[in-house]
C-alpha cells in the first residue's frame, strides 16, 4: 500500500485528472492555432504575391480583375531597366548602404571596445552624451542637416553626393551601445597577455576584440544594411537629381506624373524587395536571433 504513494505516482495521478481535459483541449487549441496562424501568414504573403504577379502583367491587364497574369510578360522589367533611372537608384542604394555599413562596423565596434575596456577621464559624460543622442528624433535634425549640407565646412555642397546621403548614419549610438555590451565579455587577461607580448592597442582591438565579437558585428552589419537600404526621409531631402536617388526615393517619384503606372511601380517594388527577401530568408535564423538578442530595430 505504502508503495503506491510515491511522489511519481501522485504526480502521475493528479496529472491524469487534469490532462484528460487538457489533452483534448490541447488538440483543439493546436488545431485552431494552426488554422489562425495559416490565415494570418497568408495575409502576410498575399501583398508580396500581388506585387510580383502585377509586375508580370501587361498594361492592359491591370484594370482587369485577374489575380495572375493571363499573358505574362517581361516588358515591365525591360521598361523599368531601360527607360527609368532604376539601375542607377539600385547602384546608389547599394553604395550608400555598403559605405555606411563598413563605417558603422569599424567605428561602432572601436568605440564600443574603448567604452568596455578602457578607463579615462570623462568616460561617463562622453558615453552619456552618446546615449542621449538616441533620444533626439532624426526628424528634428533633418532641417539643420539640410542647411549644413548646402553649405558644409568641407567641399562645395553635400547635396546629391553619396557622402551627403550617408553621413547621418556612418556612426550610430545604438551600435556603440550594443558593441560595448558585447565587448565587455572579452577577457581582460587576454588583452593583458597581448600587451605583454607587445601587441599595440589597435592590434588588441583588431586581432583580439574583433574576432571575439564577430557574431555581434555581423548582426550590426545586417541591421545597418537593411536600415540604409530602406531609409527614406533623409535620402528624399538629400537628393534632388534623379541620378542620385536611392531606390525608395525613386519609387516614390514614379507616381508624380498624372497617371499612376501601376505595373511599373510594382516592378520597381519587386526589384527592390525580392533580392533582399531572399537574403533575409537565407539568414533568417541569424537575423531573428539578432533582433531578439539586441532589440535593435532595422
Amino acid at each position: 500500500m505504502a508503495e503506491s504513494i510515491t511522489p511519481s505516482n501522485i504526480f502521475k495521478d493528479q496529472g491524469r485528472v487534469t490532462t484528460v481535459g487538457r489533452a483534448s483541449d490541447d488538440w483543439k487549441y493546436k488545431f485552431f492555432s494552426y488554422l489562425l496562424l495559416t490565415m494570418i501568414a497568408f495575409t502576410m504573403i498575399v501583398p508580396f504575391m500581388w506585387m510580383i504577379s502585377t509586375s508580370f502583367k501587361p498594361e492592359k491587364e491591370i484594370l482587369r480583375r485577374n489575380v495572375f497574369p493571363i499573358e505574362p510578360t517581361l516588358d515591365n522589367y525591360s521598361d523599368v531597366i531601360n527607360k527609368t533611372d532604376l539601375p542607377l537608384w539600385y547602384k546608389n542604394s547599394f553604395i550608400v548602404a555598403v559605405m555606411s555599413t563598413i563605417s558603422v562596423a569599424f567605428f561602432d565596434s572601436l568605440a564600443g571596445f574603448v567604452f568596455a575596456k578602457y578607463n579615462f577621464p570623462g568616460k561617463r559624460p562622453i558615453f552619456i552624451i552618446f546615449l542621449t543622442s538616441l533620444m533626439v528624433p532624426t526628424e528634428m535634425l533633418l532641417i539643420p542637416w539640410f542647411i549644413m549640407s548646402s553649405d558644409p565646412p568641407i567641399g562645395g555642397t553635400w547635396v546629391d553626393t553619396y557622402w551627403g546621403i550617408a553621413f547621418p548614419g556612418v556612426i550610430t549610438a545604438s551600435g556603440i551601445f550594443l558593441m560595448r555590451q558585447f565587448m565587455q565579455g572579452v577577457p581582460d587577461e587576454l588583452l593583458d597577455a597581448g600587451r605583454i607580448d607587445g601587441v599595440s592597442e589597435f592590434g588588441l582591438y583588431w586581432r583580439v576584440a574583433v574576432p571575439l565579437s564577430l557574431p555581434a558585428i555581423g548582426a550590426l552589419c545586417i541591421f545597418n544594411f537593411l536600415g540604409n537600404w530602406n531609409a527614406f526621409i533623409w535620402p528624399l531631402i538629400a537628393t534632388t537629381r534623379s541620378e542620385m536617388f536611392t531606390l525608395p526615393v525613386g519609387i516614390q517619384q514614379f507616381s508624380s506624373e498624372a497617371d499612376t503606372p501601376w505595373n511599373l511601380i510594382m516592378t520597381g517594388a519587386s526589384l527592390s524587395v525580392v533580392p533582399l527577401l531572399i537574403v533575409v530568408i537565407i539568414f533568417q535564423r541569424y537575423i531573428i536571433e539578432g533582433i531578439a538578442l539586441t532589440g535593435l530595430k532595422g
Binding site: Q14, L36, T43, M44, S133, M135, P137, E139, P144, I291
Partner: protein
Amino acid sequence: MEEQSGLVRTKRMTLAKKKVLWAYIFLAIPIVFFAYIRVYPALFAFQMSLHDYNPLAAEQPYVGFENYERLFEQLGKRKSQTKSAFQNTINYVLLGVPIQLCLALAISLMLNEIRFMSTLYRVMFFLPFVTSTIAIAWVFRMLYQPRFGLFNVILQLVSLPQQPFLRSPQQALPSVLALVIWQGMGFAIIIFLAGLKQIPRTYYEAAEVDGASRWHTFRYITFPLLNPSIVYLLVLQTISFLRMFAPVIAMTEQGRGGPLDSTVTVVLQTYREAFQSFNMGYASSLTVVLFALILGVTIIQLSVTSRRIN
C-alpha cells in the same frame, strides 16, 4: 628585487597613461562626429525655431517664441492642417500601438506552443518588417484601389458594397494604419517570443499540476512575467508611430496626407512646411514639440521600469 618592482610600477604608470591616450585617439572621430552631426544640429534646431528661418530669404530674423505661438494658435483653431497633423498622429498611436501589440501577443502565444513549421511561420510574419516601407506602401495603395484593387475585388466576390478606402476621409486613416500594423507586427512578435522563452517552464508545469486554466496561466504567469517585453515594445512602438511619415507620403495623393488632411502626420507636416514652403523656423518648432512628446514617453518608461526594480 625592489628595483625590479619599481621598474614594473613606472612601466605600469606609463602603460595606464598610454591606455588613456589610445582611448582618446580611438574615440576622436566618434566624438567629433557626435558633436557635429548629432549635438550641434539638435541645438541648431532649437535656435532655428526661434527665428523666421527661410533659407531663400536674405535674412533670418529672430522672432522669439512667435513660431510656437503660431503653432498653438493653429492647434486652438477649429480646423487647421497643423491641428489635423497632431490629432491624426495621436490617433495613429492610440489605435495602432494597442492593436499591433495585442495581435502580436496573440500570434506569439500561438507560435510559442507549436513545433511543426514554426520557423516557417516566424519567417513569414517577419518578412514585411524587413521590406522597404515605401515599396510595400505602394503595393497596399494598389490593393486599396477602387474597381481593380484586391480588397474591393474580394468585397465584390462576397457581394459586399465597394469601399473607397484611401479616397474617403473617414476610411483613409484606418487604411494607412492597417499597413503600418501589418508591417511592424513581425518585430513585436520576435521580441515577445524572446520574452516568452525567458519564462521558466517549471512555472507552467506547476500551473498544470494545479489544474490552472489556460486563461489563468496567461493572466497570472505569462502576462506578469512578460511585462518587461510589453513595456519595451509599448515605448518603442509609440515612438515609431509618433514618427510616422513614409507610409502616408506613399499612400496619399501627391503625398499630401489627404483626403482633407485626414492622414497627415506631424512629421509629414514638418516636411511640407520645411521643404515645400521653406518655413524652416516654424517647421523646427514642430520638431521640437515632437521631441518633447518622445522625451515624455521615454521618461514615463524610465520611471516605470526603475519603480519595478525598486
